[in-house]
């Protein structure tokens, strides 16, 4: 059976389950005797076990199974909940997350071993009846039917009896040629061949599925026969389009003995297996290892939103027929009405589609309570995390990207921001530090704030460090205002922690955060006040696909400039332009504003003489701003961003293209890359 098609669902659901488990564990830590929580965690572990066993991820299944055992004992009050058990469960959760991550990346669960955890789990329930534990192990072996047929209760008796009567029980594994067109027919021939002198007692996948071709290329059978397995194998290999046949004995003790023995025998079997390999075997292995399932990004959508979308589309169709009718009668007024209507629908449609892509930011925030718990334990600082606005929705692409930068900021707050408890006391602050994580929508953007009530940023230390790291000179430092100084934190090669800890302070921190957020079209700001705390503010655009833009003329060409990077538009006289070291600047509102000429940047040929009045688009990037001289303004418009594709990805000035109402292509200028 090819389970790859379910892989996406498996990953999605596993992540969800792990997240729930995480939440419940955190709650359990504060409320250790809460049976409901234990039940819930047990249920999740059980679900995970089932899913992973079906998918053939045995390490995950094994670990969750062991967790289940412990939880079961907790449920039945055989052992008591303790801090230690919760810690172990958290460790298990980490390993499980690591497994799922590996599965996401490679499609395999990887080599990571969880034996030490399983041992720990065993120790917890060592007081228990050992047999019970064994019993359950057998369960799980039966659960992973997918790889090997396991002998079920029902067939056991039959096999036992027949072995006593001198039959041999074989496990037959048949692999069809991957190019085989009529798999069901081939399988049928195999069945017939076997049934000539043996009896099939079980098949995996079931016979019905095989008849319907509901299997990949491999199927397995358990048969009873009096003839030698070599003979059977040779017979089967004579059928065409059979890639491989392997037959192994099922021993009597395998059926009757304890589960440990089963595993042992199985291993032995694996080595004993006689395999006749068709010539393509090696090749086949190669392709199998290379075959990495391609994972798409998925979004779970509320059915209401889809219904809404559906409604809008039907309205759109109605409007279309309305327009068609107008064509015949030709009344201008009707036409205008219809167009207005169409406008309304497309706007709503746009909103609706955007909403489908939106995911609550909760998905990112959820992992932080756990992180804070671990960090405060490691650092010996008491920290409480306050979160609000988890329901704020952001675009799916943003969700994936924003996690790491936020982790970084939170770690910074805890490591550098929040002081040691005794220092906090000296400053008259409560011993417990507070980190606030707040999200809220603001106009066309989403704001995420990370705030701590720690020591704030020591501007002088930042400057001193920057001088030491040769980011700025002493003179620059003296004239620099506080805001600029704080922004030094975001320069690469900057790290103020004197002692490098594994939590933060490897000097690769904040500049990475900044780059990441800018790549998402957002900005980072910092507000800080010494000994009161600091606040990092991230501002992200709501969506990345459709933006507001200003269309401008440069020469005869049209370009779009994203509105969110534009501060204002001014007109200047050409004789006001001054030059400082070959850089054109203008004095504007008592600051010098560097000027850049769009026609030079965009290599537009221009014969026109310079006009007296120049239109300047003032753009801002964080604290910096610059003026861009354009030849004319066309207007503001909502545009759909299309990429230029891989072929033109090297062109840095252009962020993409959009198609205007008349079918013309206008290029989108990446203002941020220009200054």
């Amino acid at each position: 059976m090819d389970v790859n098609q379910y892989l996406e669902i498996f990953i999605e659901e596993s992540k969800e389950n792990l997240q729930n488990m995480n939440q419940n564990l955190l709650q359990l830590e504060n409320d250790q005797q809460n049976m409901d929580l234990i039940h819930e965690i047990f249920r999740i572990a059980h679900t995970l076990k089932g899913m992973s066993a079906t998918m053939g991820f045995h390490k995950v299944a094994k670990l969750t199974h062991e967790m289940e055992n412990v939880l079961q004992s907790l449920r039945s009050k055989e052992i008591l909940m303790s801090e230690k058990i919760i810690d172990i469960l958290f460790e298990c959760l980490d390993i499980l997350e690591a497994y799922i991550d590996t599965i996401v990346n490679t499609g395999q669960e990887g080599e990571q071993d969880s034996q030490h955890l399983i041992d720990k789990l065993h120790k917890v329930i060592i007081v228990e009846d050992v047999d019970l534990c064994k019993d359950e192990i057998k369960d799980i072996v039966v659960a992973d039917e997918e790889i090997d047929i396991k002998v079920e209760e029902f067939s056991k008796n039959i096999i036992l009896k027949s072995i006593q009567q001198g039959y041999a029980a074989y496990r037959v594994r048949v692999e069809l040629n991957s190019g085989c067109m009529l798999k069901a027919a081939r399988a049928f021939i195999v069945f017939n061949m076997i049934e000539q002198d043996s009896e099939i007692i079980k098949s995996n996948p079931p016979v019905e599925d095989i008849e319907d071709e509901k299997f990949d290329t491999i199927f397995e059978l358990i048969i009873l026969s009096k003839i030698d397995k070599e003979i059977i194998k040779n017979k089967l290999m004579n059928i065409s389009e059979i890639e491989k046949v392997s037959i192994s004995n099922i021993e009597e003790k395998e059926i009757t003995n304890s589960p440990e023995a089963i595993e042992e025998i199985q291993q032995k079997e694996d080595t004993n297996n006689i395999e006749i390999d068709a010539k393509k075997e090696d090749e086949k292995k190669d392709t199998q290892t290379q075959k990495k399932p391609k994972l798409g990004k998925t979004v779970r959508v509320d059915i209401d939103r889809l219904d809404n979308l559906m409604n809008l589309v039907s309205e759109l169709i109605i409007t279309r027929s309305r327009l068609e009718e107008i064509d015949e009668s030709g009344k201008k007024q009707n036409m205008n009405e219809a167009i207005e209507y169409l406008e309304r629908i497309t706007t709503s449609l746009h909103d609706a589609v955007m909403k489908v892509r939106m995911v609550p930011i909760e998905r990112v925030f959820n992992r932080f309570p756990r992180m804070i718990r671990d960090l405060s334990k490691d650092l010996g600082k008491e920290i409480s995390l306050l979160m609000s606005g988890e329901e704020t929705e952001v675009d799916r692409t943003v969700i994936d990207e924003i996690g790491d930068p936020l982790i970084h900021l939170i770690r910074n707050s805890i490591d550098h921001g929040i002081e040691e408890p005794n220092i906090r006391e000296q400053h008259g602050k409560p011993e417990m530090g507070t980190v606030k994580l707040i999200a809220y929508p603001d106009g066309n953007s989403v704001v995420i704030e990370v705030e701590d009530d720690g020591e704030g940023i020591d501007i002088e230390r930042v400057k001193a460090k920057a001088i030491k790291n040769e980011l700025i000179t002493k003179e620059q430092a003296n004239t620099m205002d506080d805001n600029d100084a704080v922004m030094l934190l975001f320069k690469s090669g900057f790290s103020t922690a004197e002692v490098i800890s594994d939590i933060s302070g490897r000097g690769v921190g904040l500049d990475v955060v900044k780059t990441k957020i800018e790549s998402l079209g957002g900005i980072v700001e910092v507000q800080t006040s010494r000994w009161v705390g600091s606040k990092f503010i991230i501002r992200l655009p709501l969506t990345l696909a459709i933006i507001q833009a200003l269309l401008v003329n440069v020469g005869t060409e049209k370009y779009a400039i994203p509105l969110n990077s534009i501060k204002e538009i001014i007109t200047i006289k050409s004789n006001e332009i001054r030059k400082i070291q070959e850089q054109e600047v203008i004095l504007y509102r008592n600051t010098t504003l560097p000027l850049l000429r769009m026609n030079k940047i965009l290599q537009v040929n221009q014969q026109k003489e310079e006009q007296e009045d120049l239109t300047v688009v003032v753009a801002k990037k964080g604290e910096k701003s610059a003026g861009f001289i354009v030849d004319g303004l066309i207007g503001q418009q909502e545009i759909v961003i299309k990429t230029l594709g891989k072929f033109l990805s090297e062109v840095k000035v252009i962020a993409g293209a959009t198609i205007l109402g008349n079918g013309q292509v206008a290029l989108i200028v990446d203002i941020n890359s220009l200054f």
Binding site: E557, I601, L602, Q603, V604, K642, T643, L644, G645, K646, F647, L648, E650, V651, K652, V653, I654, G656, A657, I659, G663, Q664, V665, A666, L667
Partner: protein, 150 residues
């Protein structure tokens, strides 16, 4: 199905540049379009003519004349953009004209000679012969890729 493949393998879309015949494997060709408005892309390499709007998709267009170091020519009625797809990259190729699809037998295809006119040998995969015409079969991969070499 296999038979079809073999047949298709040897069909080429023919087009002209500077009165010479060129061919591209038909399996790489998606459509052939009349020239619409081409938007210049600043800071792009010289042989990139610009981008076009092809039914809502933005497609980059290569000027094959510039690519092959031939002189430029104004776009006219006969000019065509051949939309090709190779290694998941979709590009348009601007050519002087394109009229026919031709089937070439195996034995009428020869390796490219070391020196052939002014066209860089790198871009030539082979030479095809049909009646008295000589057809330059392009190495599409070379024509499209090489962005990094510049």
């Amino acid at each position: 199905m296999d038979e079809n493949l073999i047949l298709l393998d040897h069909q080429y879309v023919l087009f002209t540049l500077e009165k010479e015949y060129y061919g591209i494997d038909i399996l790489n060709v998606q459509t052939i379009e009349r020239v619409t408005e081409i938007t210049r892309v600043p800071q792009a390499p010289e042989h990139v003519e610009g981008v076009i709007n092809l039914r809502g998709e933005i497609i980059p267009v290569i000027n094959l004349r510039t690519r092959l170091n031939l002189s430029r020519k104004e776009i006219d009625e006969d000019s065509r953009i051949i939309i090709v797809s190779k290694d998941e990259i979709i590009t348009g190729i601007l050519v002087d004209s394109s009229y026919e699809v031709l089937k070439l037998e195996d034995d009428s295809i020869e390796n490219a000679p070391d020196i052939y006119n002014s066209v860089d040998k790198n871009y030539i995969e082979a030479i095809g012969k049909n009646d008295d015409r000589i057809i330059i079969l392009l190495n599409l991969k070379k024509v499209i890729e090489t962005y990094k070499e510049i």
